[in-house]
Point group: C2
Chain length 215, copies 2
């Protein structure tokens, strides 16, 4: 295993394996799915990256949210995590869902068949790459300054990197909710057990943390 | 809660509540207790501070060992963690159990009624304080450069800081072994529930992680 890992952290799916609903739009980044029941376990913790007020829990879930940023030097995401547009860019005004201060604080590599110029918001720079997963990972590791790379999603991007054999560790939180349709991460997570070790850890908050690491 | 926390991390006890056996000596830091069954869960992980070879697990237990050093800027320990001597120092030759490169990499404050000069081994400096828990914590926070302070043990020192109301978070790993006698952390951990929230997390490795945080 390389000393620089490719890690999925705090990626949330429903009990039936969906990471997002159907019909993503500007108003509904998760499509028909209500993101609250998928994400509330993370938002309740003291260390969650988007927390603005003091307080929050410091139990098991907090250990998981702390690792979302620990030793991360770059993020790779698919175009569907960056925004709702498909096909050629109509303009470059859209700069992601996250406002003037995105919560990444590192270089971010957005995979797309339609490249566009890099731009910087606060301490996050977005680059756009038309590249294979292996090429994108090489670029991201170079930019990460010796730190690990986080694979941020969405679902199709996580699947693509798993299939390319590039993912070292994965934390998937299974929320106690069913979505019925949308972007599916897996039929069953047991499909991955030929390639990964797995710890299954039920949390007092109601989610189940699945912790995978490469065999 | 202060932005600088006092944290207990990876402190191991037996099912019957003992953190060390009876009869500590130079040869047996844990007295009659065999430390292996208390510590083996941590030693198996990829991130354990004393790991020398590559490899190791990256599941739940690894999240816990990673936090042993994350954002720690100083350690406080009792004299019984530092060494087996009691009473006035016969000489200053003893420099702890850890050889030329102690695994702390920060200032360490050793509580003792018998002060002695500070000394440095690699990137760890040991200071010796005859002080109350609150005084020692103030010194350690000052030395920690904005980071948290780890309370390293032993048992008597952890109890003393709990009783003084100074501990913010605590990770205690309960190993599937009984010691019968020795240094007892508690009769029952439920005694602490008036002062702490608790997540109880059984690990696939066989230990149970108890995660406390201040109410």
């Amino acid at each position: 295993m390389s000393s620089q890992l490719l890690r999925v952290q705090c990626f949330n799916v429903s009990q039936d394996g969906f990471g997002a609903g159907e019909g993503q739009s500007l108003e509904r980044p998760f499509g028909h799915a209500d993101p609250a029941p998928l994400w509330s376990w993370a938002g309740a913790t003291a260390s969650w990256v988007n927390r603005t007020d003091p307080g929050g829990t410091r139990g098991l879930d907090d250990y998981l949210t702390r690792d979302h940023t620990r030793n991360i030097g770059a993020e790779i995401m698919g175009r569907n995590k960056f925004g709702p547009q498909r096909g050629p860019w109509e303009n470059h005004e859209w700069q992601g869902w996250w406002g003037d201060t995105p919560p990444f604080h590192t270089p971010v590599f957005v995979l797309t068949h339609h490249e566009r110029p890099s731009f910087t918001l606060a301490d996050t720079t977005f680059h756009f790459l038309d590249a294979t997963p292996a090429e994108a990972l090489a670029r991201a590791k170079q930019a990460a300054g010796g730190r690990d790379v986080r694979l941020g999603g969405g679902v199709a991007t996580v699947r693509e990197f798993i299939e390319a054999g590039l993912v070292d560790t994965m934390h998937i939180a299974v929320a106690p909710v069913e979505l019925g349709r949308g972007e599916r991460l897996w039929e069953s997570h047991t499909d991955l057990l030929d390639r990964f070790h797995l710890d299954t850890v039920p949390s007092p908050s109601g989610v189940t943390h699945l912790l995978f690491w490469r065999r």
